[in-house]
Subunit: 308 residues, 2 copies
Amino acid sequence: MITADNLPETTRDGKFDLVAYLKAKQQLCEAALEKALPMQYPETIYEAMRYSLLAGGKRLRPILCLATTEMLGGTTDMAMPTACALEMIHTMSLIHDDLPAMDNDDYRRGKLTNHKVYGEDIAILAGDGLLAYAFEYIAAQTQNVPPQQVLQVIAKLGKAVGAAGLVGGQVVDLESEGKSDTSLKTLNYIHRHKTGALLEICVVSGGVLAGGTPEDLQRLSAYAQNIGLAFQIIDDILDITATQEKLGKSIGKDQQAQKVTYPSLWGIEESKKQAEQLIAEACAQLKPFGEKAQPLLALGHFIVSRDR
Amino acid sequence: MITADNLPETTRDGKFDLVAYLKAKQQLCEAALEKALPMQYPETIYEAMRYSLLAGGKRLRPILCLATTEMLGGTTDMAMPTACALEMIHTMSLIHDDLPAMDNDDYRRGKLTNHKVYGEDIAILAGDGLLAYAFEYIAAQTQNVPPQQVLQVIAKLGKAVGAAGLVGGQVVDLESEGKSDTSLKTLNYIHRHKTGALLEICVVSGGVLAGGTPEDLQRLSAYAQNIGLAFQIIDDILDITATQEKLGKSIGKDQQAQKVTYPSLWGIEESKKQAEQLIAEACAQLKPFGEKAQPLLALGHFIVSRDR
């Protein structure tokens, strides 16, 4: 059985094996998430929360948190409650984003969206429940970390999710819908907040939990911001090029909604180039961490090359 | 100017003056809430959050928190960030509860509901933003309290709001709609969670912040649970008897929705008697705190006598 201590993350020739690393970490996260949210009364709401939280996915966000804590000398156990909370919050943002009043999506990760199965009222409440539980879970379950650092994680996470972060990004995104004159500045704002803020706190929270210095945290922020923007550019490209089967969600929605995207501003080739440059800059930030940065470096390259 | 230190809470003959106390505390809370959530970019979401958060109301929840901290020897300053967070969470629960997919209310506190002004999408996000900000605000702003106690407040608050608390109560409430055979047990579950859990954490968080003993916290829980249930019974009675003008919300909605209520199970007179008994039991819990319990005692009686 794979545990936190015997991750098969290097191949026989000693080279870092990202595929094995991701698979092992993903298994750890799945087990931790399952344990974090057992069924109980009232069943409807726990079922709805579990339906979306345990729907699979790459678990990139919790893995970024775990990888960062470990890079700075911390343990999986220290970071796992926060890692689970990050996935809870990511899930709540998807549930609310899919609602008829928002993106009105019927499918997500190849499955019916939460409100399609449980109704809009329960889907709204399932999102609220996951958001509240995320903070509870960090505060109640984090061990072997000085409480002051746990509070810092909670403060930064709240900011990343709220109107100064993810929620703010979604609002500007909604307001720019159907406008063909959205500026690059606005597009950057949307993605730095809608996707970027949560990715950033994944990495930064891992750093805070492990007791990183202010300089460490600044480097981690820069790494994550660049990765986040690259992630979004790739997402825009995939929205145009990928097949519905591969992504498990409706395709070309950006085009249908007449949204300005990076490829619509730059073209696909230039967008790819920009994404690769962002990844290079992200990875440069990790130089001082040496060999230990291998998982985060590999994750950066993985994000830019996924599904192509 | 009224400050935390010169509250005009006693009349000239030395008797506790609840009206003056409430007015003074309410002013402190209004100022603190205004300061907690200034306007910024993106304006739409801050405007929507402020619209509901600063819409007035009695501020009973933050006042319960402040009063409890002070009863146990703590200061207003120690408790104010948590008090503000409690009002943010109460507000988010009202915004989401009023949505078309939930109670579908057009008016709240005599004003148009959030989604009627800003649209459903923004109302959902405003609720999410307030919920995330509440946790951020406690973690980032609480001072002169040991961090371990602040974490305990956050853990208990998350539980009170999530599927094991408020959200769970709302779900069971939704499921019992239109059913005329809802049992007293289910009715108690709904209200202990939908209204009671948040009122309980208002009082308990005040106790935790002030460093209350486990016995103190147990007494505070019992006080709040009884007050919470009495509060709900009175609310049910008011739903039948009050005029629309007085409450500023649509009247008789419970009856329209064919909901089982305490008056529908017990009749109005028996319901009043039960509420008064609950208040008496609540107040009995505060005996060991002596004179210092006066504000909480008076608040208990205020709740049972309001608007009649």
